[in-house]
Each structure stands twice: as C-alpha cells, then as structure tokens.
Amino acid sequence: MSRAQECAIVGGGLAGFCAYATLRLGGLAPAEIAVFGTDPDPAAQWRRRAAAIRQRRMRSESDGHCAPRSFPGLAVRAARRRRSPLPLVQSVFDLYHPTVEEFLAHVEELRMRSGWDDSFRRRTVKRIRAGDGGFELDGAAYPHVLVATGHPGLRLPDELAADRRAIHAYEPHEYAAEVEVVGAGMAAATEWVNALAAGSSVISVRRREPERRPLNLPRQFFTRRGLAAFHRSGPAARVDFLGRWSAPSYPRGRAWDEPVERARREGRFRIAAALNGAEQVICATGFKRGYREDALLAALVHDHALETAGTWIVLGSDSTVPALTDTERTLSVAGVSGQWAFPAADTLMGAKYAARGFLRRVQACRSR
C-alpha cells in the first residue's frame, strides 16, 4: 500500500467537519488530510433537513458549534456581533439557542478559514480495508481514518412505506388541512407547531409520551461525570442504556406548549395511538439505526470481524475501533455510529468528542 496522506475523514457532513477543524487546530495541514464526501458544503445535508422541518433555532446551546475550542461559544460571538450582552445572559440561564442562520454562518466561516475545500474530495468510499500500518480506502492508504458517515437514511414505518399520503419530516413538504404527525421527538414537536401555524389540524400519533429535557440526554452524559460510569458498564448495560435514552424527547418551554395548548382548546390538536386516515401523514420518525443500515460500516464489521453489541459497533472510550487501532494506526467512528463511546454521539458535542480522541491518537503517533 502506498501511503497517501496522514489522515482520512470518510464523510463530509458536520461530524467530519468537526474532526477536520480539530485536526487543523492540532497542527495538521490541509494537505495532510483527505476528506471524502458527496457535497463540499459540510452543512448541506443538515441544512436540507432543518429547512424541511422549518427549524429556526438550534436545540443545542452556546457550545453547539463546530470550532474545536468550546470557547468562545456562539453566545459570545452573538454578543459581539449584536453588541448586546443578552446572548451571554441567556447562556448563563441555559436559555440561549442560536438561530439556524447563525449556526450556518458559523459553519461557513469556519469552512473558509480551515481550508476544508482544499482537503475535500467528492468521492464515495465503499470499503475500508485494514493493512500494515494503516487503511486502504479505494486504492490509497492512510494511517489514520475517521469514519463519520452520518445517519444511514430516513426511517419510515413499514406500514407507511408504500402509503402515498406519507412523507418524512426531513423531506420538503407543505401542510394539508389535516395532518397526522407520527413520532414524539424534536422533529415531531417542530412539525406540530409548524402545521398549526399553517392553519392545519394536527393529530399527534404516538405510542408513548415524549420526554421533556433540554438536550438529547441529561447533561452529565456530555462530560466525564456521566461518561465514566457509562464506559465502565458492560455490553448489556450499555445496550440497555442506549435503548432507554433513545426515546423521543424535546425541550420544555412555552414556545412548544402554548401553540399546542391553544390548538387543543380550538379542537385543532389531538393525540391518537394509531393513524386514522388523515389527508397527510408526516413521519417524524427519525433515522434508520445501527451499523447494519450503513453499507460501509456493515462491510467494515464483516471484513474485519469487528465486535458488535446489538446494533452498535463496540468502540473504545475514545471512539476508536480497538481491533483496528494501535500505535501506528487509528480507526475512529464519529457521529451517530459512535454512540458506544459517547451516547450523544449524534450531536455536535459528540462529534467533537470523537474528533479530540482521534487527534490525540494522531498526535501520539506523529510524535514518536
């Protein structure tokens, strides 16, 4: 295998972008990093989905950004730009949520500054093969590879797959006069509010009541405080934990509750356990889950007989694949597929967690 560059990032979305920015801060030049993706805009996929559900504000807070350093966060940047301390005050009370525009502007600015486009190659990697001292990706060799292929696809309930009324929330759509929204997470809550604002009647179809919490997970699971116990737990406990916390949730707050409550009083919002034949069915049912749904990861597991548990690839606590990581090479998994190491891996914080672990490995190898 001829060695091409130091690092490869497979996946050109936000998780890959966070990893790229972290590697750049860690001293790697754009020429030392190859990024494989389908769209040079790292926010392209996310932008489409956010636009589809008409998302205006991020669920994440000030530190929900792609820059490798958590400070200054988006609240500090907003305060500086608006010449107002309000974002900082909001941040102190955990009430600051950047707008989608602010977040996208930040991504664009970081993209320009980081040299991302110099490293980006529009190519789909179909297979990763481990070799001596590295990995072969479609013909070229890299000692360090981070896989951030993102969500494997939108999930539609089987019974609605062939139903012409059904559309996924993350696909562009308008609202019919009567809308059934399947699901009870953040996207579903956003769709309730959107459809009600458009004048529709909404039926929330859900099997269980949603959790109400500010972030995907309780905050201690974003730091070592909660992660230490998670990392100590055995495979069965981890599978149970990840299953339990994957239940739908969305934040508390009047912005969510008031429109729904008002519509309920007007008879325009109700909850049902099953579909009832409405004109439009919006599936806010998230994404397909598990490595088997991702062709690249499924092949990786198959080719190298990697250890798995449930639908997850078993990872080290730094998001690396233990069987394919040693003193000379690193294989890391970032994004939603990295939940074995970081339960909130599908967040920006999770992306950076994997990125920092990857950088540590790369630096340890380079310094020898």
Binding site: L25, F71, V92, R219, Q220, R224, R225, K352
Partner: protein, 392 residues
C-alpha cells in the same frame, strides 16, 4: 457544566494560584498574615464545598455560580471569625469577590480555550491540573509554614485578675480567656503585638502604645483609666471592637492617637466609647475612624486635629457637650455618613465654637462632608478661623 469531583478540585486549585500569590504579595506589602490566612480559608472552604456540590449537583448551570459563591463567602467569613483571622471585613469581601471573578473568567473562558476537552472532561485539567494542584498546595504549605514560623508567640491570659501594669516589649499575641482582667494597665513598646479579648481596669492609661508598629487591639474592654482609655504615641495601631467606659480623670480621653503622621495610617473601627473629655482624638496622625459609637463626652466626641489627615465615616455620636465631630488646626478630614445626635451647647465655656454644633472645622482645617445625619444640634456644620467645610 457537569463537573467531576476531580474537575472541581483541579479547576478550583488552578484558579486559586493567582489569588494565593496576590495574598502573599499583599501580606508582604502590609506586613500582616491575614491575606494568606484568608486565602487558605477560601481554598479550604471551597474544596469542602466541592465535595458537597459533587454529591448534589449533577449539572451546575451558569447562574448558580453567584448564589453558591455567596454561600461560600458566608462560610469563609464564618471560618475567618471562628479562627480569629484579623481580616477587615471589607478587604476580605473584596478579596473573595476578586478571586471569584478571576476564577469565573478562568473556568468559563481561559480553561476551555486552552484545553480542548475541558468541558467534556468535567473541568479536569489533565496532567496540568495535577501539577497546578500540587503547586498550589505546595505553595500554600510553604507560605503557610513561613507565616506560621514568623508568627509571634501566643500568650494565653487565664481567666481571673492579673496585677499590672503588664509590659509587652517583644512581638506576641496576648489572648485573654473569658474573664481575663488586667488591673493597672498594659504598656506596649514592641512591634507586631496583638492584644485580644482582654479587660483592663484602672492604670494611668488602660493600654499605652509607645513607638510600636503593627499593633492590633481587638475586643479589649477598658474602664477606670486615669488618663486615656487607649493612649497611642508614634505608633501604628488597629483598634477594633473595643469598649471604653468612663475614663476617670478630668482630662481623660477614650482613644488618643498622636504624633504618627509619618507612619502608616491607624484604624479605629467598631469601638464604643462612653464618657470622657474626648471620645476619639488624633493629633498629627493619619487615621481612619469608622463605625464607632461615642456618647456622653464633655469636650468633643471625635476630634481630628493638629494637621491630622483622617477619614471619619459611619460613626454614631450622641449626647455630647459642645461639638460632635471636630476637624481642627490645619487638619484635612473626610467626614461621611456619620450620625450625630443631641449635641448640647456648652454655655458655661462661653466659647462660641462650642454652642452645640454637629460638625466643626477650626483654624485652617479643611473638612469635606457628605451623607451625615445630624439632629438635635444648634447647627449642623460650622467653620471658624479660616477653616473650610465643603460638601462632596
């Protein structure tokens, strides 16, 4: 942020290094050890609180920093009081507030900026954190050891009556047990002497301080002195929370601080003086006279004279004859936020400057006044013989 216990310890100790060094610098500058003791109390209380926070707070939102800091401040001041650390309240609060603000800047800005994984590591600083913690604890142990080694010896005065006069001619701390009484006065002629919790009865002066620096008199009670309750000459003193009752002589004064203009300022704070010719008087001295209560004097309650420079604030003066607060003889006085009540005219003296005035400036003195509450007087403020009174 969701701190780990180690993260809390390392962040706190990392943030404590600069305040600790500042405390050492301050201690060296003012030749007192209370800044170091205060810094130590802050660190100790903080680490104890961290254990409690770790138990109860899975996540600490930003807004919680302020109420938690106020609770910690209360605990620190409790420790300061319990251990008898001679830290002035305002200085202690200011030091705590400054250290806290500095810590906030580090925890929310500098540490996350310099250490990529600071947040996800729960405030841990890695090897640097361990090193910082070791440095802070070692520095504190070293500086504390130096401080301890340089502390004057403590002499416990047992409960009961001790026949004086006592002569304190070397550095020491004389601390009275409850009920310790010295009959016949105490004379201090050495630097770095502290007298605390002692009752003095009789003597020419209750406590006489002569040519000594850095003398602290705390919670002393003096009665029956023939001349002055506390008599200070060419010395620097801090007198806090004293009680001086009815000096016996016709010319006796409660506290007299004189002839130390070229020395560091003296302080009289939180004392109560009852009776005597003048309650608190300075001659040719620099002093701050604050938050005292002076009642029943027969000449003037507070006197700053003979080119003294003095700040007089927050005092309560009541039921005195002639003059409440007097700034005389080319002295410069800042007189703020005092309350002066019921100053009777001294008709018998025939002195027109003593006709029951709240504040008097006399003989070329300059007094700047503001926020004083004066009642029961012939006039609130009067200036005589080229003196000036101006409002701030």
């Amino acid at each position: 942020m969701s701190f780990t216990l180690r993260g809390r310890f390392e962040s706190r100790l990392g943030a404590a290094l600069a305040p600790l060094l500042a405390a050492f610098g301050l201690a060296a500058a003012i030749t007192e050890w209370w800044p170091l003791a205060l810094a130590g109390a802050m660190i100790g209380v903080g680490l104890l609180f961290d254990v409690a926070y770790d138990r109860w707070l899975d996540y600490q939102p930003g807004w919680a920093a302020l109420p938690l800091a106020l609770v910690e401040l209360g605990a620190v001041m409790g420790v300061v009081y319990a251990l008898g650390i001679a830290a002035p309240l305002d200085a202690a609060v200011a030091f705590f507030a400054g250290s806290w603000l500095f810590g906030q800047v580090l925890v929310h800005g500098v540490f996350p900026y310099t250490r990529l994984s600071y947040g996800e590591d729960g405030g841990e600083l890695g090897r640097a954190g361990v090193a910082l913690a070791v440095v802070v604890l070692a520095a504190f142990a070293f500086l504390g050891g130096v401080a301890l080694a340089m502390q004057p010896p403590t002499v416990r005065l047992a409960s009961g009556i001790h026949q004086g006069p006592l002569l304190l001619d070397h550095a020491q701390r004389l601390v009275g047990e409850p009920g310790a009484v010295v009959r016949g006065g105490i004379r201090i002629t050495a630097d770095n002497v502290t007298v605390r919790n002692v009752t003095v009865v009789g003597g020419d002066s209750g406590i006489e301080v002569d040519n000594a620096r850095n003398v602290t008199l705390e919670r002393v009670r003096i009665s029956g002195a023939v001349l002055d309750g506390i008599h200070v000459r060419r010395s620097t003193v801090k007198i806090r929370d004293c009680l001086i009752h009815s000096p016996a002589g016709s010319y006796a004064q409660g506290i007299d601080i004189s002839f130390g203009f070229d020395l560091a300022p003296s302080l009289v704070e939180g004392c109560t003086v009852i009776g005597g010719r003048e309650g608190i008087v300075t001659h040719f001295a620099m002093a701050r006279v604050a938050d005292n209560r002076v009642v029943g004097t027969t000449l003037r309650a507070l006197t700053l004279t003979e080119m003294s420079m003095a700040i007089v604030e927050g005092n309560h003066v009541e039921d005195s004859l002639g003059v409440g607060i007097y700034c005389g003889d080319y002295s410069e006085c800042e007189i703020d936020d005092n309350s002066v009540r019921n100053i009777r005219p001294d008709q018998a003296s025939g002195d027109k400057t003593r006709m029951g005035y709240g504040i008097v400036a006399h003989s070329g003195a300059a007094a700047v006044i503001s926020g004083n509450d004066v009642s029961g007087v012939s006039a609130s403020a009067r200036a005589f013989l080229g003196a000036r009174i101006s409002a701030e």
